[in-house]
């Protein structure tokens, strides 16, 4: 599903150039659940952003479902993103001014899904995440675990082929964290490819494979199953 070859990305400030990705190469097959681990600054978030088409690489190749997307413009990236990719963030990133229902509905709005269908699809996913009873609450009124379940609901509502999770349990206690990991595992079992950046060895055990990064390169790969 994803094939990156010699992917490069560096950030420049006036004085220093930081290499975030240094000719990184790996592949993720459809249906896989991959964890990316490594110390802070090793480039894992950069990788996730490029995989999520939120950022573009400086060099190398990025095939998404066999299509070279490394040099897509913003419009094409946004289009590909909204149809294929869901995101889950450490800090949930829910819009404070929107209710649970409205937050989850957002990707469908941008996909141009009509109102009645949107309602039905959002309700299905809220039900699945067991937060239906909170549909009219605002994010501030929810616990961290509930917020992350909303974020996961939002990530899956448009049935993406790929979910990118950036430390999804980082802000959660262990029981809430486990719940979220179970949700992700369930989604993976239903066929969704998941790539998860994490610091947590515990969480990484839920995945099929761990890519360990250092200084912008993949140093080891652990196959867990």
């Amino acid at each position: 599903m994803i094939k990156i070859t010699e992917l490069q990305k560096s950030y420049r400030t006036e004085e220093v150039e930081t290499i975030a990705l240094n000719k990184l190469t790996f592949e993720v097959k459809e249906g896989e659940f991959v964890s990316v681990m490594g110390p802070s600054g090793c480039g894992k978030s950069t990788l996730l952003n490029i995989l999520g088409l939120l950022d573009d690489p400086d060099g190398g190749s990025f095939l998404f479902n066999g299509i070279e997307v490394a040099h897509f413009n913003e419009r094409k990236r946004a289009d590909l993103r909204k149809r294929n990719i869901g995101f889950v963030f450490q800090s949930f990133n829910l819009i404070d001014e929107l209710t649970v229902f409205e937050n989850v509905e957002l990707p469908l709005i941008y996909l141009g899904v009509k109102g009645p269908e949107r309602k039905q699809r959002v309700e299905v996913v809220l039900d699945k995440m067991q937060i239906m009873h909170r549909r009219n609450h605002y994010p501030q009124q929810l616990s961290g675990g509930q917020q992350q379940r909303v974020a996961v609901a939002r990530a899956v509502v448009n049935n993406p082929k790929l979910i990118l999770a950036d430390e999804p349990t980082g802000n959660l206690d262990s029981s809430n964290g486990n719940e979220v990991m179970t949700l992700l595992t369930d989604l993976n079992e239903q066929g969704t490819t998941i790539i998860m950046v994490t610091h947590s060895e515990h969480d990484s055990k839920y995945s099929h494979r761990i890519i360990r990064m250092l200084d912008g390169q993949a140093v080891t790969e652990n196959i867990l199953i």
């Binding site: 939120l54 950022d55 990133n93 929107l98 509905e105 709005i109």
Partner: protein, 810 residues
């Protein structure tokens, strides 16, 4: 999608109440100012357009040139022979109609006696040229019979109550009986004339009134407002090219001397009816007209205020962008394209503008009575309801919304989701500089308005308190009535019975009026007289005019009853001696002089004084004692001692009633008349102050929001500084300095613009103040003080807060 945008817009407004209030309030006030000023502009532009034939009606005006070809006088009215001759010579002219104002005239019906101010001689064609709503009477011949009148409903009610006014007879000036032959509805306010009584033009043919001969030959009585009805789309201006030949064909002159052709010194013009109010500006108008430059100035002020409000929106939205950054990031991650984010923010600003325009419409209706009180107009919000106006108003929120929202929308839509969601986002330096530019722009406009207001008031004060060259205090003026022609000396003596009446005089014109009368002058050259190549305006006076007005005599003497020859004597002012080539006033005294063909001697020279308002420079003037019963006097002036004015006025009224029982007593003080001259400037000044105040207020509201935001961003820095020992004072200074620097830059930009604007404004006054440097400094300091007050409150609040709290919150 839009529903989602509006939903979040509403919730954001509710969440950030202060900033939402500043935005909404600013835009509402800005739009209200625009609507109020728009109402005023529409009113001014609407003059005479109610006439269904407005585009076909043209007024004939007449100018007089001096020998150098420079226009010395341009009158909105022409001599009586022109009207019929134009109709005769130019077959394209479909109709000619004329109006001759009579001036204040007493009218009596039974025991009701009033001074009527808007009496015009007019003919039946007035009703077919202008849209006049005839309520009773025959449109085609109501004004045919001599001594018939058509009156307005109000006048009818005033004299006859509920009785049928038709065929009722009123007495005018205790001399003529006039029969009511028709009733008209009053002309709308936006008409350039408002007759209350129309008197049949044929009445003028009566030799006791004016006479047919006079109508046909009096080329000097330019008091007849003459209107032409032309065919649709007729090139009226092309007539002007044919007027010189027309003038020479009809006006008498010495045919052997081509240099004396009338077309050499006088010209006729045509002026569009709809241009009279704003672009008329001739020296003789029926009513005081509007001023197109004032319309432009206020239009510009309205747009500036709206711009300041839009800038507030831009600034506060971009400043607040960090708070919206996460939302934008999430939307982008959820699949939003950039154009969708732009649309979202534009729809927010358009939505706010929509609220603002609705509130502004309500505010406008509430404030119109206030504006009417200030301007003396009767503006109505109905003016805004015409489709041609309403549709643009309804579309305004889109323009204002897009104008205010486009920059924040472009800026925020460019956020990279990676950075904002990772919390790495910081509003960039470029935005901060752009916000600074906008604040500078706001304050530049405010400072220019402050400077302008101050200078307008200085000039007003100067005009009202400048030495005029005579004593205008305690002078009462009354309309002269011909009933006093034979009894004036006795009337004067009766007035002087009261020791508080110091002097009384009659004259053709009085100071505060215009100097429009002029005849040819001849001055001594060797043994003979040669024509003077200069304009000298004349005023017909009696022996006591100079004394009454306290005009200083610079050389020679005042008119005196002791010299019988003074009936052909002349008094000139110093300005006149200068145009006559005299080095000193004394040189002119005792010289032979002829004015209007009457030979006499110059008996004295008066000091220069401002007869007209301060817009006009002092002209050469000649005072002449007219022959008895020459019907030249227009007003009486009475100099009072100044103490016990109430009792003195009672005495004056008693004498008046004794001599003129048929004329209602109406008096005005001269200083009131002078004040009236500057009424429009005074209104302009008041409006300037108001709008300048509003501009600064809105700018400061923006500054309040911006500084609150800027300070909230620096809470940690303030905490650290305090922990390291910074005093409250030093922190307030730190926080205020940034903003004060912007005000300083704004002042530097505003000064030259303010100077240039006011220099141009003052150029319109012959007598004006010189612009003083301290006005600029004061405006800058005031703007800075207001800004400092705005920022200071928040700065102090931030500076005295417990630093531990600030640091813990990080």
């Amino acid at each position: 999608m839009l529903k989602n945008y509006f939903k979040i817009a509403f919730r954001n407004m509710a969440r950030y109440k202060v900033i939402s209030f500043i935005n909404l309030f600013g835009l509402t006030v800005g739009l209200s100012c625009c609507l109020l000023i728009l109402t005023y502009i529409l009113h001014e532009e609407s003059y005479d357009r109610y006439n269904s034939k407005a585009s076909r009606i043209w007024r004939v005006t007449r100018s007089f040139n001096n020998k150098d070809g420079i226009v010395s006088l341009h009158l909105g009215a022409v001599a009586p022979p022109f009207g019929p001759l134009l109709q005769n010579d130019f077959p394209d002219i479909q109709k000619v109609t004329r109006l001759l104002p009579t001036g204040v005239t007493p009218v009596r019906y039974e025991d009701k006696l009033f001074n009527e101010d808007n009496i015009f001689f007019a003919d039946n064609d007035l009703f077919s040229v202008f849209d006049v709503n005839i309520l009773k009477g025959d449109r085609t011949n109501a004004l045919t019979d001599p001594f018939s009148i058509v009156i307005t409903e109000e006048v009818a009610h005033k004299y006859f109550g509920d009785a049928d006014p038709i065929n009722k007879v009123v007495r005018m000036d205790n001399r003529y009986n006039l029969r009511v032959s028709g009733i008209i509805a009053p002309l709308p306010e936006n008409s350039h004339f408002h007759p209350s009584i129309l008197l049949s033009f044929n009445t003028l043919k009566d030799s006791a009134i004016y006479g047919e001969k006079n109508l046909a030959t009096n080329w000097g009585n330019n008091a007849f407002f003459t209107y032409l009805l032309l065919p649709e789309n007729y090139p009226a201006k092309s007539l002007e090219a044919r007027f010189p030949a027309f003038i020479d064909r009809h006006m008498p002159y010495n045919k052997k001397d081509p240099a004396s052709q009338p077309s050499k010194y006088t010209k006729l013009f045509v002026q569009k009816l709809t241009d009279i109010h704003l672009h008329g500006h001739t020296d003789e108008e029926i009513e005081t007209n509007g001023d197109s430059s004032r319309v432009t100035i206020f239009g510009a002020i309205a747009l500036f205020i709206l711009l300041i409000a839009c800038i507030n929106y831009m600034n506060l939205s971009t400043a607040r962008s960090t708070l919206r950054a996460k939302e934008i990031g999430i939307r982008k991650v959820s699949g939003a394209q950039r154009h969708e984010i732009i649309t979202q923010f534009l729809s927010e600003s358009v939505l706010i503008s929509w609220f603002a325009i609705i509130l502004a419409a309500a505010l406008t209706i509430l404030l119109l009575p206030w504006l009417n009180g200030l301007t003396g107009l009767h503006l109505s919000a109905q003016l805004l309801l015409k489709p041609a106006v309403l549709i643009p108003i309804v579309l305004t929120p889109f323009v204002v919304g897009i104008l205010s929202g486009i920059y924040p929308a472009l800026f925020m839509s460019s956020f990279q989701p990676v950075k904002v969601l990772k919390g790495l986002f910081k509003a960039g330096g470029k935005t901060v500089s752009f916000r600074k530019v906008l604040v500078v722009l706001q304050f530049s406009i405010s400072i220019v308005l402050l400077i302008s207001t101050t200078i307008v008031f200085q000039q007003l004060d100067y005009m009202q308190h400048a030495k005029l060259g005579f004593d205008k205090e305690h002078i009462v003026t009354l309309a002269y009535n011909n009933g006093l022609d034979k009894t004036f000396e006795s009337f004067r003596n009766a007035l002087r019975q009261d020791p508080h009446v110091l002097a009384a005089t009659r004259s053709s014109r009085i100071p505060s009026g215009r100097l429009l009368d002029e005849q040819g002058a001849q001055t001594e050259a060797g043994d003979s007289l040669r024509p003077v190549n200069a304009d000298i305006k004349y005023v017909a006076v009696d022996h006591d005019f100079v004394k009454t007005y306290g005009i200083p005599i610079k050389a020679g003497r005042d008119f005196s009853r002791n010299y019988a020859t003074d009936s052909t004597g002349y008094l000139l002012n110093v300005a006149a001696t200068k145009v006559l080539g005299m080095k000193t006033p004394e040189e002119m005294v005792g010289r032979n002089f002829a004015y209007g063909g009457v030979k006499g001697k110059v008996v004295g020279i008066m000091g220069d004084f401002n007869f007209e308002d301060m817009h006009q420079s002092i002209l050469p003037i000649i005072f002449v004692i007219p022959p008895a019963n020459s019907d030249q006097f227009g007003r009486i002036s009475i100099k009072l001692a100044g103490n016990d004015i109430r009792a003195t006025m009672a005495h004056v009224e008693k004498v008046w009633k004794q001599y003129l029982p048929e004329v209602p007593f109406e008096s005005t003080f001269l200083d009131e008349r002078f004040d009236k001259l500057y009424k429009s400037e005074q209104q302009q000044g008041s409006l300037f102050t108001t709008f300048a105040g509003i501009a600064i207020f809105i700018a400061c509201l923006g500054l309040l929001g911006l500084s609150a935001f800027a300070i909230s961003q620096r809470i940690k820095e303030i905490g650290v500084r305090k922990v390291l020992g910074a005093s409250t004072g030093s922190i307030v200074t730190l926080l205020s300095t940034d903003f004060l620097k912007l005000i300083a830059v704004a002042a530097v930009i505003a000064f030259p613009i303010g100077w240039y604007t006011m220099h141009s404004w003052l150029a319109d006054f012959a007598y004006r103040i010189s612009i003083q440097w301290w006005v600029f400094i004061a405006a800058g300091v005031l703007a800075a003080a207001v800004a400092l007050f705005t920022i200071g409150f928040q700065a102090i609040k931030a500076a005295i807060a417990n630093p531990v709290k600030a640091l813990r919150s990080e």
